[in-house]
């Protein structure tokens, strides 16, 4: 597997969409590298993005119509593909964000719960 420090977490399956859409919404059009870089920065290098999954994910999101892409030149005058969020993407982002919040609150509740008591009650 890829070399990575043990304290860095892999990006959770399914959350990549959320991260990408949020990034594009916040920063406007970005190329793939920029998106990857941004996700790493925001997570303060705690989140390890498997870059191999980024591009297929971008393609999928483009096919779904959440983002669109355009070829342009980077700051260093290199040819690069820039991605931007679409309206459909913004709707998706809102939904994914809401889902994520619901999910994380639920998990939070589990974490504060006493498992032993729960099993007895649940019987």
């Amino acid at each position: 597997m890829e070399a990575g420090s043990t304290d860095r977490a892999e990006v959770l399956q399914g959350t990549l969409t959320l991260l990408v859409l949020r990034t594009l919404e916040a920063l406007g059009p970005l190329h793939g590298y920029g998106i990857a870089r941004r996700i790493e920065q925001i997570s303060q290098e705690l989140l390890h993005l498997n870059q191999g999954t980024l591009y297929p994910a971008l393609l999928r999101m483009e096919q779904e119509g959440w983002i669109c892409s355009e070829w342009g030149t980077s700051e260093k005058n290199r040819k690069a593909r820039f991605y931007a969020i679409t309206n459909a993407g913004r709707h998706r982002l809102a939904k994914e964000a809401a889902d994520w919040k619901r999910m994380s609150t639920t998990i939070e509740r589990f974490l504060v719960f006493d498992p032993a008591r729960r099993v007895e009650e649940g019987g």
Partner: protein, 864 residues
């Protein structure tokens, strides 16, 4: 909607591979470069930075693969790949692909054309509303007298209405050259009963018919040719036989009723002898169209009409009592039972050809499949799932059947256009054959069927056979499909036997029919239809015909000339003939002939004399009878000098001669009793001038004869100038066509069966190389090897022929009424056809057998 867009994007992706991949590569390269720059900035060397960037990115190729899968539709790509593979595989094995495609295309073409014909001629309803209610009602011979129709209308409860039609021909003058045209005279309810309305103008009313007004409907074609499609035609007047008729309506384009070739339609009262016609009883010349009431079946109508016939018998002339009234569906009348049978027989021929083709195709694909077992095994070992392999086989079949389907449908379209263009007038409704949706559906169904067939059998064997085992044995485990292929060859020969036998008895019938002695010599005779001018009183007609005949005979190059009122017999009637001593009802034909007629057509007078100048109007009435009539009326006696009269009253006629029998109803009809009167004593209004050329081609005297006629009467309409030989031979046109088609199909069937057995034996020899090698090594000679292979082929074909024998007997019995002078189980054909097919089988086996003899024993043994 989003998923639709995603699907479309992937669909595009499936076909837009190279450019997108380049873009992805660019994107990844950019990513790596940026990342490397970052590492360089952090202090790495460029080389180190690039390496680290690559490592942190992860597997590029794996990512690309994910990307690729994400991008396209795998199944579409696989399908595209399969199709490409199939095309390549086919291109690499022309020995398989060409016969396969040709056979299938042929079968699809034949099936489609036949379906088109079958649909137009037999299956498709007549183009009239509620056509199943339309019937033809007739007394005896198919026609009825007017009084009968009126009484049926009054008494029968089966029909909502009855209408009548009779045809005649008139001389049209006033528009261009004088011309003979066909006229139909119909009761005013006739056209409405067919649900047809005038395209322009109106149809005639019953009042107009009642008042015997001269009004006319014209056909679309007549309107176009005579009036250039101008609406001025309505109200214009036509001069028919010198009498004016006002055009009041134009029939719709494409309107056709049976074989009625009339261009002008008038009320039924327009006949000059209407007063006589309207009271005539018994059999007559009216064609009666009846529309059955809803819920009345054909059987009920027939039953009712027959009890009605008995009730009316007393009021009928003696000659017409005890006749049946027949109610026949109009569709059957349109296409006679014989034509129907012919179409069904042709369909059977096509079905046989298609079945043989299918057998061949199956056999071919089985053989190919067996020889590909090794390839399939390799692919299976390399990881192709059985499902994937099956799909590969199915795709291959689909490709084959699609190509064959397109070729076959195009060929069918061409053939149908040819059929229509040649407008085989001898076949009813042939011009209605079209390539419509149903015909195309038939082609598609055939192609699909072919595709499934070619896929299913090999797939099953592929599925069942243990692929890994066959890989070890080098693709030699073939016994299962061999059995199927043997059975197929047996079936092919059985079907070929049936078909070739059918063709055989038809060919024999046709040959016999062609060789029939018609009782006259049509060679070198020119026939011209001629009509006395309508204004000429009948008393002058005799002189008119005589002077034409005299001039014609004086013309250079003319050997002899004669005249007869009707050349061929299209209708007959039964009448009483009284001879001295008895009164008999006989079906016979009565015509008027001139002196010299028998000489011109080459019919011998068996006894007595020909008509002569002394047989004039006013002198003793004379007749010449044919041998059939003579032996019917005076069996075993000398007819010349005997007397007869018609209907038991009237004048007595003296028989002055007995002429040889002439087959004036075509070569296939037994000559019927005929009586000829002298034209001088009963001059007809029209007839046939027959001129025998002294030498060679009779068409060379056409101009001279025309000139001779016009010298006598410039206004005389003459038409249908043709040789007697060609008009007589047109009686056999339908038989010739039918025989040709069945023979062609049976030739195809024979060829397919031959290729079938050839392919099988060729394959057998190839798979038994080792066995033959051993046989030769232990001393078998070339002849022994030949015998082994040929006898094997012969065994299969003879088994098939034995099975086909019974099928042949059955088909023969079904088609008995299509035969002429040949028994349905004709022993000669039954003997010759199997011999011919066995010979074909032996010849087909010889090539593979010769190949077997060339096997080098040592090489064959080493090969394993």
């Amino acid at each position: 909607m989003i998923w639709v867009r995603a699907f479309l994007a992937r669909w595009r992706g499936a076909f837009r591979r190279p450019r997108d991949e380049e873009q992805l590569a660019d994107e990844v390269r950019f990513h790596l470069e940026e990342r490397a720059d970052e590492y360089v900035a952090a202090g790495m060397t460029r080389e180190e930075a690039q390496y680290t960037a690559l490592r942190s990115f992860g597997g590029v190729e794996a990512m690309k693969e994910t990307y690729r899968e994400r991008q396209g539709l795998p199944w579409v790509e696989n399908a595209v790949q399969d199709v490409r593979y199939a095309l390549r595989a086919l291109a690499h094995s022309p020995a398989f692909a060409i016969p396969m495609l040709a056979t299938l295309a042929l079968a699809i073409c034949a099936g489609t054309v036949m379906f088109g014909v079958l649909q137009a001629v037999v299956l498709r309803q007549l183009p009239f509303p509620a056509p199943e209610q339309l019937t033809i009602v007739s007394l005896g011979e198919g026609r009825s007298a007017y009084w009968n129709v009126e009484s049926w209308r009054a008494h029968s409860r089966s029909f909502s209405d009855l209408a009548v039609l009779d045809t005649t021909s008139v001389t049209l003058t006033g528009i261009g050259d004088a011309d003979r045209i066909g006229v139909a005279r119909v009761s005013p309810n006739f056209v409405p009963m067919l649900g047809v309305q005038a395209a322009h103008g109106r149809a005639f009313t019953s009042e107009e018919a009642e008042q015997r007004r001269r009004v006319a409907l014209i056909t679309h074609a007549f309107w176009q040719s005579r009036f250039g499609g101008s609406l001025d035609a309505i109200g214009a007047s036509l001069e028919l036989d010198g009498r004016r008729s006002e055009v009041i309506g134009i029939l719709p384009a494409g309107f056709r009723f049976a074989d009625v070739a009339a261009e002008v339609w008038e009320p039924h009262t327009a006949f000059a002898d209407w007063d006589v016609r309207r009271v005539a009883r018994g059999t007559g010349s009216w064609f009666v169209l009846g529309r059955l009431r809803a819920n009345v079946t054909l059987e009920q109508a027939n039953g009712e009409m027959n009890s009605l016939a008995r009730r009316l018998d007393e009021e009928m002339p003696a000659a017409d009592r005890d006749r049946e009234i027949r109610v026949v569906p109009l569709s059957e009348h349109f296409v006679g039972a014989r034509s129907r049978l012919a179409v069904w027989m042709l369909s059977t021929a096509v079905v046989c050809v298609v079945l043989i083709a299918v057998a061949n195709v199956l056999s071919l694909s089985l053989a190919r499949n067996v020889s590909r077992t090794r390839e399939l095994a390799v692919r299976s070992v390399l990881g192709a799932s059985p499902l994937r392999l099956l799909r590969q086989l199915v795709v291959e079949s689909v490709v084959i059947s699609a190509i064959a389907g397109v070729c076959g449908a195009l060929a069918a379209w061409t053939v149908i256009q040819l059929l229509r263009a040649n407008s085989l007038s001898s076949f009813p409704r042939m011009t209605e054959v079209t390539v419509d949706g149903r015909v195309l559906a038939c082609a598609t169904a055939l192609a699909l069927f072919a595709g499934i067939l070619t896929a299913v059998a090999p797939s099953i064997t592929a599925w069942r056979s243990n692929l890994r085992v066959s890989m070890q044995s080098g693709g030699r485990s073939v016994s299962g499909s061999q059995t199927i292929r043997r059975a197929l060859v047996v079936a092919e020969f059985a079907l070929a036997m049936v078909l070739v036998f059918g063709a055989g008895i038809l060919i024999r019938s046709w040959q016999i029919a062609e060789d029939v002695d018609p009782g006259f010599q049509p060679q070198q005779v020119l026939s011209i239809q001629l009509r006395a001018p309508a204004t000429m009183p009948s008393s002058q007609r005799v002189a008119f015909y005589q002077s034409i005949l005299e001039r014609a005979e004086r013309t250079g190059g003319v050997d002899s000339a004669g005249f007869i009122s009707e050349l061929y017999i299209t209708s007959t009637s039964e009448q009483f003939i009284e001879t001295e001593g008895k009164l008999e009802r006989i079906a016979f034909r009565r015509d008027e002939a001139s002196p010299g007629f028998f000489r011109a057509v080459g019919t011998p007078l068996r006894s007595g004399r020909d008509f002569a100048a002394e047989d004039r109007a006013g002198s003793q009435r004379v007749v010449i009878v044919n041998q059939a009539m003579a032996s019917r009326l005076w069996p075993g006696q000398q007819a010349v000098g005997k007397r007869l009269r018609f209907g038991g009253n009237g004048e007595w006629f003296t028989v002055i001669g007995v002429a040889g029998n002439m087959r004036r109803q075509g070569p296939e009809q037994e000559p019927m009793p005929q009586i000829f009167e002298a034209i001088a004593q009963n001059p007809p209004g029209a007839g046939y001038l027959l001129a025998k050329a002294a030498t060679g081609d009779p068409t060379q005297i056409t101009r001279a004869i025309r000139a001779a006629i016009h010298e006598v009467e410039p206004q005389a309409p003459l038409y249908n100038v043709r040789t007697l030989e060609s008009s007589f031979s047109s009686f056999l046109a339908a038989r010739r066509l039918q025989t040709f088609v069945v023979a062609a199909f049976s030739a195809v069937a024979m060829f397919l069966a031959a290729t079938g057995i050839y392919g099988l034996m060729q394959y057998c020899v190839a798979t038994r190389t080792r066995e033959f090698g051993i046989r030769m090594a232990v001393g078998a000679g070339n002849n022994d090897i030949l015998r082994v292979v040929v006898s094997e082929g012969l065994r299969l074909s003879v088994t098939g022929l034995a099975l086909g024998f019974f099928g042949a007997l059955w088909v023969g019995r079904l088609s008995a009424s299509l035969l002429f002078e040949v028994r349905a189980s004709d022993p000669i054909t039954l003997a010759l056809v199997p011999l011919l097919l066995a010979f074909v089988a032996v010849v087909s086996c010889l090539l593979p057998a010769l190949r077997a003899t060339r096997i080098q024993p040592l090489a064959a043994l080493r090969q394993e």
